[in-house]
């Protein structure tokens, strides 16, 4: 098949794609090339979604680059690799075939990466090879005859170091030269592995062979049958303690700032409906959620750093048996861990699971992994009801309760998965996971990742959350109370009416009507429930009750049984339309989504019921 050789004028945009094995440094190369000029599809997982970026070469040619998901081969075994294969073959429904592929290979792992590169030769598309991590290879005593390898492969090779900007300059220069002709495909019947071996024998001298490398020393500890799990537990525990402790000063500062800003902005306005809308609906609503940005970012920082350092696959290795208990494999660990940040990237990361049943079960239990949007609710309730004291000398009780909430959710997930996989004839679930070399996380990549998440979170605050709060403000303000009414204004409003209507269903689990009202907007995004409570109570109690007054207010108005019951509800309830929407998109089945919704609401109601009545029995409340 003759592929059209793209004709290129200097003014036309060059369409290229980065393609390579997982862990070849493709994403950091992409970040270096494009900087912040990237478009990440709405819910960014880690290289599972479509990442597109733009940059120009030194001579001013503009380039559009696609970061294809990492793949080991064109004979795909996962939806993730399907995308890479289809784009490379020009069979993708929405992507045009790239004019040029950048085959990214790591100099430190040529044996694996050259194999895929040789496979790409058969595509008939021009390829420039980016030979990455040359510095690391050199340090470990490896020399590569780049010119010889280039001649032999019939593709231009550009050594790059994707860790810093100068390191990718050779690639930029190569893009200014005319696009090379497509490489000749390998002769029929070539044994690719033998070819890789020949290339390595001819062009690579490795004096490090047999020496102990960093990865050996670290894996001796991190994969140790006893120390490995201990280290993992410590990492996870420290992670959750810092999310709670480090974020506190930042949150206090943000809260103060937002309150001041609100007062400053609204001072010129006369009292009335408009001021109430802006103060109680918009600013208070957005403010109570923005305050949680530090916590969410610290959590994401951990997940990104663990991912980049190469530790995450080790955690999957250690947890494989635990995952097998749930009827899954260690591969499910990464999607599930991502779900602690947000179930949406988690569900999407499940694409890397080859086994369809494992993938479905992982998607179904992903909402049980405590996502960061629950943190605002947890933080508020823990702050209001759990005393701020230390137990056993060093552990904060509040942090412990938070840890317990996470633990309960994980155990429930394991049990749920177990039940879902029971009775199904057990087939083999492959693990087959690469354990990449350890690397120091790249600050630029971390910063970009955090920035993308901050923007995502804040744009949600700006759109869904603020509009829902305005809607809720409307529901809670109108109709206005009749002249001479004595009760709180919200009692006469639509929200009060809806809340009272829901009350008979939720009274058995200890919810009052204010909670019922806040559950409604909480469906669109969990974290809204906090601001919704603020709105409901601010309107219900006094005119200018600021969000920070919510905390003492709740501890005085709710019983501990109600608070714990609401916490239990939040552990399970599928209070997030976006998650359900992604689930629908990934499984293409409404039946699965409805099933998931029903089982999660059922669990939530059951758990809240048990917690409420047990707590009441213990505390002896009426």
């Amino acid at each position: 098949m003759a592929s059209p050789t793209p004709s290129l004028q200097a003014d036309s945009t060059l369409h290229i794609a980065l393609v390579g094995n997982p862990n070849c440094g493709k994403t950091s190369l992409f970040n270096q090339l494009t900087g912040s000029r990237q478009k990440v599809a709405n819910y960014a997982g880690v290289t599972v979604e479509r990442k597109e970026g733009f940059f120009s070469t030194p001579q001013g040619r503009s380039v559009r680059v696609l970061d294809l998901p990492g793949a080991y081969s064109l004979s795909s075994t996962s939806p993730d690799e399907d995308v890479t294969r289809d784009v490379c073959l020009g069979r993708h429904r929405t992507e045009t075939r790239p004019q040029l592929l950048i085959g990214v290979v790591s100099a430190t792992n040529l044996r694996l990466h050259l194999r895929f590169l040789l496979e790409l030769r058969s595509l008939g598309v021009p390829i420039i090879v980016a030979l990455n991590m040359m510095d690391e290879a050199k340090r470990s005593g490896m020399t590569i005859d780049v010119a010889g390898l280039e001649r032999d492969l019939g593709m231009p090779i550009v050594p790059v170091i994707s860790l810093h900007k100068q390191g990718v300059h050779p690639l930029l220069e190569a893009l200014d030269r005319p696009v090379p002709p497509p490489p000749a495909p390998l002769p029929d019947g070539t044994d690719i592995h033998a070819e890789v071996r020949r290339l390595i024998q001819t062009y690579v001298t490795d004096r490090s062979a047999g020496q102990e490398r960093l990865v050996d020393r670290l894996d001796r500890w991190f994969l140790h049958p006893v120390w490995g799990p201990v280290i993992l537990l410590v990492v996870l525990f420290v992670m959750f303690q810092t999310v709670f402790a480090w974020a506190q000063p930042l949150m206090d500062a943000l809260e103060g700032g937002i309150t001041m800003l609100g007062e400053l902005l609204l001072r010129p306005l006369p009292d009335g409906v408009l001021k109430s809308l802006l103060a109680d609906g918009v600013i208070a609503g957005a403010g109570t959620v923005i305050v949680f940005l530090p916590q969410i970012l610290i959590l994401f920082l951990w997940i990104l750093a663990l991912e980049e350092s190469g530790y995450l696959p080790r955690a999957a290795f250690l947890l494989d048996r635990l995952m097998a208990l749930a009827g899954l494999s260690g591969r499910s660990f990464i999607p599930l861990l991502s779900s602690f940040a947000c179930a949406i990237p988690g569900i999407m990361a499940a694409r890397t699971i080859q086994n369809p049943r494992d993938r479905l079960v992982t998607i179904l239990i992903a909402p049980l992994m405590t996502c960061s949007a629950r943190l605002p609710v947890y933080t508020l309730l823990i702050g209001a009801f759990i005393p701020h004291k230390t137990v056993l000398g060093v552990l904060g009780l509040q942090g412990l309760v938070l840890f317990a909430l996470y633990a309960v959710a994980i155990v429930s997930g394991v049990i749920a998965a177990r039940i879902m996989t029971r009775g199904v004839k057990s087939e083999e679930h492959p693990l087959l996971l690469e354990l990449p070399p350890y690397r120091r996380p790249n600050l630029k990549s971390l910063a970009l990742g955090l920035w993308q998440r901050a923007v995502m979170f804040l744009s949600r605050v700006g759109t869904i959350i603020v509009s829902l709060n305005v809607l809720l403000w409307g529901l809670s303000s109108f109709p206005l109370p009749p002249q001479g009414a004595t009760g709180a204004a919200i009692d006469y409003s639509l929200a009060g009416w809806i809340g009272h209507l829901m009350l008979p269903i939720f009274a058995p689990i200890g919810f009052n009507w204010q909670i019922c009202v806040s559950l409604i907007p909480g469906l669109a995004a969990r974290e809204v429930a906090v601001s919704a409570l603020a709105t409901v109570y601010a309107l219900g109690v006094s005119e200018d009750a600021a969000p920070e007054k919510l905390l003492p207010l709740l501890s005085s108005q709710w019983s501990i049984a109600t608070a714990l019951s609401l916490l239990a509800w939040y552990v399970y309830a599928p209070q997030c339309i976006s998650t359900l929407a992604v689930m629908r998109r990934e499984t293409r089945s409404m039946k699965i989504v409805l099933g998931a919704t029903a089982y999660l609401f059922g669990l939530a109601y059951f758990a809240a019921f048990v917690v409420y009545h047990v707590t009441k029995a213990i505390t002896g409340e009426a």
């Binding site: 080991y72 081969s73 004979s75 075994t77 430190t108 792992n109 040529l110 044996r111 694996l112 194999r115 592995h193 071996r197 990865v215 050996d216 894996d219 001796r220 994969l223 140790h224 049958p225 006893v226 490995g228 799990p229 696959p313 999957a316 290795f317 250690l318 494989d320 048996r321 635990l322 494999s329 260690g330 080859q354 083999e428 679930h429 492959p430 693990l431 087959l432 996971l433 690469e434 354990l435 990449p436 070399p437």
Partner: protein, 80 residues
């Protein structure tokens, strides 16, 4: 017959071949793509905390985690 899942930790061996459990076994195919092909040398560097499963295998410059069931497809011979 000697398989990778029984190779003691720390010992080297050479891959003799990769068996298929089913016709066109996808796991065997993936193993080959990852470089588990005849003639390569392998070493087990770590075993999982429970039941020594999964195992971490060094293959050339790469390292993989395999469950024992996957490793049991790889037939070994002694290094010369």
């Amino acid at each position: 017959m000697w398989y990778l899942d029984t190779l003691p930790k720390g010992n080297y061996a050479i891959i003799d071949r990769v068996e298929e459990r089913t016709a066109a076994d996808p796991i065997s195919a993936r193993l080959c793509e990852l470089g588990f092909v005849p003639g390569e040398s392998v070493k087990i560097v770590a075993t999982g905390p429970v039941g020594a499963d999964p195992i971490a295998v060094t293959l050339g410059t790469s390292r993989f985690a395999l469950r024992k069931g996957e490793a049991a497809r790889i037939v070994l011979r002694r290094p010369v």
